[in-house]
Symmetry: C2
């Protein structure tokens, strides 16, 4: 067995090294690398052997420079620690990976300042596109200033600044919040509930407004009244929701069911009800929103609206890729579907 003594290379192996090593030109090696049919079987084999022998690794940056292309896409996330966005990121990365793009990650931690910094740092690496899940309080003008007009931009989940998403000059992907709570409310109505509350969330958050609207629409469509005490605000955390649970029963008639702003709030409400001696899923019905991991293992398991963040990630990736393929198409505005997942927390009303 012959000794394949590699030279003790300190520098990285380049096309030129391979070319020299098997007596062909750099151009030929390049063709081999890209699987061109132009190159002869024999030379291809010879070159491939040499590539392996020297442990060549492709320098995509140099290639991209020459070809004026890019093989990366920037993903800017407002809160990667939040499992919803982490799943979203995983979905994006998965879809980008199978299209042989690479993900340039940036986490802003909900800070518009950091978002500016992250965007202008990422843009210098020349991504083919940008997926942005904006920090709360982003300013669209500043974002555009950082991103420039040449790099395709997809905004996920929230609208940038004041603008409504539907006429933004960039692509958008948002959740169908209204339809979600509409479905949830219809589900409770179908079970026989007539007195249904909307629980949790802050009035000024845009997603909360939309979710509340879906609930109101469904109630109206079923000719059901909404008593003033049935709209309960609360910070979107479990603890705060548990504290507010009592507010549902301050006035008669009390509701027999609640559509919640999200799962965290719904789980908190279950806690609050339990500590007041009520049994969620038996004498009070609850529907959440998001379908976080925990919801399927709570007691009782939570009926909720699933938004499938990983699918949304894949979808976002595909939208950017499509836009990269057709830079001059008009901006698209996509609303992602949501679905009702029925579990045990949504029971029929106790017969009076």
């Amino acid at each position: 067995m012959p000794m394949h003594s590699k030279p003790p290379t300190r520098r990285k192996v380049t096309l030129a090294d391979i070319a020299a090593g098997c007596d062909v030109s750099r151009a030929t090696v390049s063709l081999v690398l890209r699987g061109s049919p132009l190159v002869n079987k024999r030379t291809r084999a010879k070159v491939e052997a040499e590539l392996k022998r020297q442990g060549y690794v492709y320098n995509r940056a140099a290639a991209n420079l020459r070809r004026r292309t890019s093989s990366s896409i920037a993903l800017v996330i407002n809160d990667l620690g939040n499992p919803f966005f982490a799943e979203f990121a995983a979905g994006v990365d998965e879809a980008l990976g199978s299209a042989s793009y690479v993900t340039l990650l940036g986490n802003t931690g909900e800070s518009p300042e950091r978002q500016q910094a992250v965007l202008s740092s990422l843009i210098e690496h020349g991504p083919a596109g940008i997926i942005l899940s904006p920090a709360e309080g982003s300013d669209d003008a500043r974002v555009i200033a950082a991103v420039g007009r040449h790099t395709p931009l997809l905004v996920f989940n929230r609208s940038l600044g004041e603008a409504s998403a539907d006429d933004a000059p960039w692509d958008t992907l948002v959740l169908d919040n209204e339809r979600g709570t509409h479905l949830a409310t219809e589900h409770l109505i179908a079970l026989g509930h007539k007195r249904i509350a909307f629980f949790g969330g802050h009035r000024d958050s845009s997603s909360c407004r939309q979710r509340r609207q879906g609930y109101l629409d469904a109630m109206k469509a079923a000719n059901l009244a909404v008593a003033p005490g049935w709209l309960v605000e609360s910070a979107p955390t479990r603890l705060e929701a548990a504290r507010q649970a009592g507010a549902l029963f301050n006035r008669d008639p009390a509701p027999t069911a609640a559509v919640c702003y999200n799962d965290a709030v719904a789980l908190g409400l279950m806690l609050g009800l339990t500590s007041r001696g009520r049994r969620p899923g038996e004498d009070f019905a609850i529907v959440g929103f998001d379908d976080i991991a925990e919801s399927s293992v709570s007691v009782p398991p939570l009926t909720t609206i699933a938004v499938d963040p990983r699918d949304r990630g894949r979808q976002a990736a595909e939208l950017v890729l499509a836009r990269i393929g057709h830079p001059d198409m008009e901006a698209t505005h996509t609303t992602a579907p949501v679905r009702l997942v029925v579990r045990d927390s949504s029971c029929r009303p106790a017969s009076p």
Copy 2:
């Protein structure tokens, strides 16, 4: 006010455009960009105005090619959907960002095959270093084959393949699992418990072995016996743990407390106990491991071992950066601290 009519550039603005636009050489513009003291105040101002006017964005790829440097670091994660690793990733990105590196993300979904693909794709972008949280069942030889010997590698959390982490030729960062359960066990002992179980996890997982060992050591150090029925295996999920809860009480004497493999298992155990009429935190003490978000809001709040994944991410980033600064240093092997977080689930033993 003069009209600053930008030419309708289709192509990206380059150094040459700026140079032409204000009648200096490309070299001078380059010096301005990098804030060199060599360039005269007046020309600097002139150039900077032109940069703004044309909306120049720096092309870091081209610069890196010429300078033979890199400003990115690859981060390969086994399961980004898991909040622990998502937090870790956020920590990495944060620390890399403030060192003006950019994060190249890759998620492997625990698949060694995908891990190979992801590594060889990322390596082509020439990262200055790689942080790898390996997929279960990774093969160190294949990983090294993909990464090559020139790019600094930091392996987080698990050892690659068979090798023990302590003599690997790459840098490692692992959690102090043993010390964690040691602390947990000591805490229970200090509260007065003598019959303490170790609950959950699989025998063959390396982290479980370490955590169990810490428990055994602490018991031995306190001269406490470990009855055979006190080591209960279970898949590391809430559901499975709830099912196994009964196993603790099959034989006399039954334990009065348990150190759990992780928080998921601990939360499941609490569920299982509750449905058997026992009250965790009142007549049975429980300590978890990980300090996931949920643990602080469970009922009762869970005493646990915090591992601070975001800090671990920052630490990992700093370790790679240090290694990039000193490529020829010997491999370092770091064990990250963990800390005991006391909440309500760890009570004194009921006086007999």
